[in-house]
């Protein structure tokens, strides 16, 4: 287990930098994590995705499929990669404080 510190934020993360205690998530944490994913600023668009992911996860207990994220947020896949250069799974889910997506690699 590693500790990630940024500004006032101090959280436990795994090797990939995913939060270990999702209940500690807040917007500050999100901003802090965003710095590790090549996101310079958390714009409205960034938050939209983050909150979509969090809502979905709360409701279903799983992360949505990528196609669903695009459909529901209105962003194309390209736009999502522009917002989160390491992609929806590694980038956006991490910032949103979700469990690390496993499944298919």
């Amino acid at each position: 287990m590693q500790t990630f510190e940024y500004g006032s934020v101090k959280i436990e993360v795994d090797e990939d930098g995913f939060m270990q205690k999702p209940e500690e998530w807040n917007e500050e944490v999100a901003k802090a994590l965003a710095t590790t994913e090549d996101v310079k600023e958390m714009t409205e668009a960034h938050w939209k995705i983050v909150y979509y992911l969090r809502d979905y996860y709360k409701k279903y207990g799983i992360a949505p499929m990528v196609r669903k994220v695009c459909k529901e947020t209105g962003f194309s896949l390209k736009e999502i990669y522009d917002l989160y250069p390491s992609g929806p799974a590694k980038g956006a889910c991490k910032v949103a404080g979700l469990a690390k997506p496993t499944g298919c690699v």
């Binding site: 090797e15 990939d16 390491s86 298919c104 690699v105």
Partner: protein, 399 residues
């Protein structure tokens, strides 16, 4: 660099014997590379304990891509710190796995600098696998690779790196240009290859003839296998040669024809080409005398996969025969429709072959706009459970 040599008594056993030794390879690399050396250590441990020492998963990559790197962390990072990170990079191989000494050396140079110095030539999907590096090295390696003209392959729920047999480059039986198509598809689907957005992985494999030298039918969601429509070409003189050389044409060639469509009268081979199922056997047996017809193309099959989780599948016929020439419009349209229908309706982690079984081949065909034909089935249904979608109402008396 390790000071003194590790003790690896178990692995040392695998340096013996006539087959080239992967342990020797790791040791060679370990001489100059700490990652390779810790790999050796951890592997020896696995051999002692009969268990792997890698943690589950890992999600790392290069910017802008969702696939191409398999994250891997040791569960013994204190003991083997140099493999605490040990990610593989999947490098998209050139179609047909052809290389020059020059380009290989340049690839080695990159990996010497940034990774373990170990590779797989190649991975089961076909990629050139760079075996083991740290997170920090991913971007720099990627940059050097792209500078050399290479790119990452697929991983995750994306188009996986397409691969193919050597086809027309070296085989007289290639019924279409497998390498050209592979290159074309790889380039056409760059976005889908690098940014996973499907329900699950999608593999293309291209074989030039029914011998299927890349095992396309067993392990690709879309298997494109060359075949022909007209008569087998025959060189009668060569047939005579084979007979003279002592070949038992009746027993070994004719007797093995699955369509029972050949006859041998001691002088000539007669083939009922209308009945021939293009199995390749007779051609394989007599390459100088027989070869596929001139009207060549491919059969497109769909849905192969490994057993997880509903049992393994072989691909099944979707388009019995198609001409495959640039710009491959028909094929691309077909794939587009399939991707659309599958992406829209597939469940998470549902391969297209499983998807088709779940929704029914008939419904799937309707959705992608392909007419059902008997070539698609081994045989029609045996059970009487037909889902008729409409019925007549009493009012509707002219039923």
């Amino acid at each position: 660099m390790p000071e003194k040599k590790r003790k690896t008594p178990k692995l040392d056993e695998l340096e013996k014997g006539a087959w080239p030794s992967f342990v020797k390879e790791i040791k060679t690399a370990a001489e100059k590379n700490a990652m390779a050396d810790d790999l050796l250590g951890q592997l020896e441990r696995s051999y002692e304990e009969k268990i792997g020492h890698w943690k589950h998963g890992g999600i790392v990559g290069v910017l802008g891509y969702g696939g191409g790197v398999i994250g891997r962390y040791s569960d013994l990072p204190e003991e083997f710190p140099n493999v605490s990170h040990f990610h593989t990079m999947r490098i998209n191989q050139p179609a047909g796995w052809f290389y020059t000494s020059d380009v290989l050396r340049k690839l080695c140079d990159i990996w010497e600098k940034h990774g373990s110095g170990l590779t797989n030539m190649h991975g089961s999907t076909g990629d050139l696998v760079f075996l083991g590096t740290k997170t920090d090295e991913l971007e720099p390696t990627f940059k050097e690779l792209t500078d050399l003209g290479f790119d990452l392959g697929g991983s995750g729920s994306d188009v996986r790196t397409p691969s193919c047999c050597c086809g027309m480059a070296r085989c007289e039986w290639a019924c279409y240009d497998t390498m050209a198509l592979t290159y074309f598809l790889t380039m056409h689907y760059q976005d889908e290859l690098h940014r996973p957005a499907f329900p699950y992985k999608w593999k293309f494999k291209m074989s030039g003839c029914p011998n299927d030298c890349v095992a396309a039918i067993a392990r690709s969601d879309m298997s494109i296998i060359g075949t022909w429509r007209d008569d087998i070409q025959m060189d009668k003189a060569a047939v005579t040669e084979y007979a003279k050389s002592g070949m038992n044409i009746q027993k070994d060639v004719v007797g093995n024809c699955p369509a029972k469509c050949m006859e041998w009268d001691g002088k000539e081979i007669k083939i009922d080409n209308k009945a021939c199922v293009k199995c390749m056997h007779c051609i394989n047996a007599m390459p100088k005398a027989l070869s596929p017809g001139k009207d060549r193309g491919a059969c497109i099959l769909i849905g192969a996969k490994a057993p997880i989780v509903e049992g393994a599948l072989l691909s099944s016929v979707l388009i019995p025969f198609i001409k495959l020439e640039p710009p491959y419009t028909e094929l691309i349209e077909l794939v587009g429709k399939i991707h659309e229908v599958w992406s829209e309706n597939g469940k998470n982690r549902e391969r297209v072959g499983e998807f088709i079984q779940r929704v029914g081949m008939g419904n799937f065909l309707e959705a992608i706009g392909v007419e059902p034909i008997p070539e698609m089935v081994a045989h029609p249904r045996e059970n009487p459970y037909v889902f008729y979608e409409e019925y007549f109402e009493e009012e509707d008396n002219n039923g």
